[in-house]
Symmetry: C3
Subunit: 252 residues, 3 copies
């Protein structure tokens, strides 16, 4: 399952049933879990002194699509899925079921929880902290330097269930509260309260998220999104979300 | 004309005089028209269940530049031209003379007319509908989900001759009228009338397009652009545009 | 030091101790200086008639990271460093110590000075003029067409020491004065005076740059950045900057 044109270091540790596509390079300091697929034209475990000797650890059942580049010194839980040509630098630590869309650029030195999903072309600056079940949409940038260029690094923090819509920028040190929504094309320079919508440049409070109605004719609220959007989440988690929604409906 | 390092499926159907560059992969479900060139490091016909068995059909005289990825299940008319590292997913249906700039990311499930030109790094969400002779400039995003994440998909519609300037975002379900111009760095949340300029965030009416003067000292109006910009269009089409311009001049 | 899978034209001129990675292509009209490293999956010297016969000249000690593409007809001073998957077209003329971040897209026909640093994913339109010691941050676009599409090309000018923060767009013909700072998410449609901060859409004067304080507890001003940020600059240059800072401190 290793293509004959792939170049795999004898020092790399590949689990059982790992597939490696044509023209892919796997460097020395790499550990890949069982049942993972690495597509063509990838470069996995790109060496860097900044990894400080740490290996690249990719959990079981990963799917890394073609033309992607991962540096040494990062680690990922099970079922990592990427689009094409993602770039992930050293000291990126992510949980299980992380999805990175095509062209994603993760600068490393950041912490990412479980079930986080990045759509295409997001840029995650160093020292970002991202919780669980977070969604980040295309062309969003998380920054870190309040007066570039400088040595001051103030990463953004994104709490669980938050969603950042397309082409928004999160300025250094900003905290996005649990379940908040950042509207498209926003520039966020202040913290955003949990379960609120902020939008604009600079972003301002718009409403509570539960005031946004689903445009599907149901009359239901669109947030928390976990009450109606379940694609790709495990059954146990979805049941918990449905129970939460039912309890909320009984309250009101 | 197939490079010795290229990997071409025996099931792929290549026309006459098709050239395939080094380190390029052509998968099973691919039909490429006569006289086409596929550069190096490409992946053509990436398999996906979402193609539902449909082949990737690329018309004659295509030029696909290096590091590009096309999924199975899309089709293109003659003379497709791409920049480097474009990504085009399944069920993208485009007409003739389509140009996609470097880094373009077409999410699939969309309809695109003839003579459409994307500059670098555009992102086209699923369910977008794009007419003929449309121009889309760098870092423009066409979105589709009014309250992400959700199952509601409302693609944008871009009518013939419209132009969307750099780093603008078109929000879900918006229709851009024929010949309109969207100013750079805009966020468009409402329909835009034909032959008008809209700009800002949120985008608002600025003027009719024919009020914009060409900055070339000629004193002529800059729109409709087809009255003065003809590079790469066929002679018959240009003659029609020139006749239209002459008729308009006689009227005024 | 040429990997066995690399394809290097016998007409390319490689200096001493040049390293070429796997699956990389080096075309005919290429001159690479001593001690340079070209990573894997690159395409160097992509042929184009627009180069008008000029070679691609890369100075000594370059580091070009994987998946990058350089066209024929450009030239670079010593110590060029790139991230991954950069695209640089013909007639890009840059000085020494140029850095281009991952996904950078330089459209060619532009002039760039010494010690210029682009972070990830910048787009430099044709006819841009960039001075020395300039910083450009992610998702910044320099445009050139005042009424797209047209034949009028008015490149932007960026003077020495200027910094353009993330996701800003510089409109055609705009001049950014020496040492100015463009705030993140700005759209700049007018010239910006030296040593001032401009921000917003459209960008407006905010303050003089020396009114911005460093967020490091030092109480010092954040600009000119050269008075406190020295990473990667040569000792002689840094000493000059420190002397300038000391003289300024004595004045005040």
């Amino acid at each position: 399952m290793i293509h004959s044109t792939a170049i795999v270091s004898p020092r790399a540790q590949l689990g059982r049933d790992v597939s490696v596509g044509p023209f892919t390079i796997i460097h020395d300091d790499v550990v890949i879990g069982d049942g993972s697929t690495i597509d063509s034209h990838c470069e996995i475990g790109y060496p860097t002194a900044l990894a400080e000797g740490a290996k690249l650890e990719i959990g079981a059942k990963a799917l890394i699509r073609s033309h992607s580049i991962f540096y040494a010194g990062s680690r990922f839980g099970e079922r990592l899925v990427t689009g094409h040509r993602v770039t992930v630098r050293e000291r990126t630590h992510a949980g299980a079921n992380f999805q990175i869309g095509t062209l994603g650029d993760i600068q490393g030195h950041c912490e990412i929880g479980d079930y986080v999903r990045f759509h295409s072309n997001v840029h995650i600056g160093q020292h970002s902290k991202i919780g669980n079940f977070v969604w980040i949409f295309p062309y969003v940038v998380l920054t870190n330097d309040p007066h570039p260029p400088s040595h001051v690094m103030m990463g953004a923090t994104v709490e669980d269930y938050a969603a950042i819509a397309t082409m928004s920028i999160i300025l250094p040190g900003v905290r996005l509260g649990q379940g908040c929504l950042i509207g498209a094309h926003s520039s966020v320079n202040r913290d955003v309260a949990p379960d609120t919508v902020a939008a604009g440049a600079p972003a301002k409070f718009v409403c509570n998220t539960n005031a946004v109605k689903l445009k599907d004719g149901s009359g239901r609220t669109a947030y928390p999104w976990r009450h109606h959007f379940h694609r790709g989440y495990p059954e146990a988690v979805v049941q918990q979300w449905l129970a939460e929604a039912a309890a909320l409906a009984n309250l009101s």
